[in-house]
Amino acid sequence: MQSNNTQAILEVRALTKRYGPTLALSNVDLTLPKGKIIGLLGPNGSGKTTLLKIVAGLLTSTSGFVLVDGQPIGEGTKSLISYLPERTYLPDWMTVEDCLDYFVDFYADFDLQRAREMLSRLNVPANKRMKQLSKGTREKMQLVLVMSRRAKLYLLDEPIGGVDPATRDYILDTIIGNYDNEATILISTHLIADVEKVLDEFLFLKEGVITMHDTTDNVRETQGKSLDELFREVFRC
C-alpha cells in the first residue's frame, strides 16, 4: 500500500503487542512527520522499547500495522531506518577500525568520513578493541556509527541513559550536528530535562497507550510549563 501522506515518515495503526498475558502496547495510532526530532517519553515499562523494536522490524506485532515512508515493515524499511538499541552490540574483540568496516559492509548509506570526524573528537585510537573502552566511550562509539548513516528514520533507544552529563552533552551535540531536515529522529528516554531543548514534538506513552502527542513549544505556550514539569505531573506515582 502506498501512503498518500507524503509528509509522514511513520504511520502506526491500531498496533497491539502482547507478551503472553501482558499487554505491552494497546491499540497505538501514530503519525510522525518528516524532518522532526521527536521524544518518545514514558516511565520504565511503558512500552517504549517494544514500540521501537516493532518499527525496527525486530519484533512482530500481535495486531495492527506499521508503515515506514509508505512501506510495510520488511527488508525495504530496514534500509531506511538506523536503530540504536538500548545496549551496545559491538563484540569485545572488534577494534574501532573493525567496527567501521563492519558498518561500511552492512549499510550502503554509511558515511565513513563523517564517522571518522566524529570519532576523532572522542580521541579513540583506531586499533583499540571494544573491551578496552569504557562503557561510556563504547556507547558514544555506537551512537556515532548509527548517526553516520544517512537514514530517513533514526530510532534511538535511551541514548543518554547511564552516562555522565558531559557525555550526555556530547551525545546531544552529535544528534543536533548530524540532523538533516529530511530525516526524523525518534528518541526514547525518561530523562526529559536533558532532551527537551532538542525536541520538536513529544509522545507520552503510559502503560502501552499514547496519552499525549504535541509540540514542545505548545506545552510551554499554552500551559506555561516545561515538558519536564508536565511529565512529572502526568506520571506522578
Partner: protein, 127 residues
Amino acid sequence: MAWQFTSNRSIYSQIVDEIELRILNGTYEMGMRLPSVRDLALLAAVNPNTMQRALSELEEMGLVTTQRNTGRTVTTDEAAVSRARDAKADLLVETFLSQMKMLGLSRGEVLERLARGENKEGEHAIQ
C-alpha cells in the same frame, strides 16, 4: 556553553530575545554575518528547527536579513535597530514600574530611588 532557558516560556521566543539583545548591545554588529542555523543550534544546544523559527521571527522584526548566497546577516538598517531598542526599553520600564507599584511605591518615590541608584549602578542587581 549552552544558553540558559526558563521553563515557563517557549524556547524559540527566549532565543529571539537573546539574539535581539546581542544585536541591540552590539555583540552581533550591524551587517555581521550570522553563523549557520546548525552552528547556532549547536551553540545554544537546541533543535535546529527551533533556531530556524527564531531566526524567521527576527527577520520579520527586521533585525536579521537573508541574502541569497551569503546567508543571514544582522540588519544594517539603523532605524530598525533603534525601533527595536525603544520597544525593548519601553517594555522593561513598564515591567519595572508595575513591579514598583506592587511594592507600594509612589511615582515620586520611584524617581527618587532611580536618581539615587545611578551612583551605585548594578551593585546588588538581580540577574
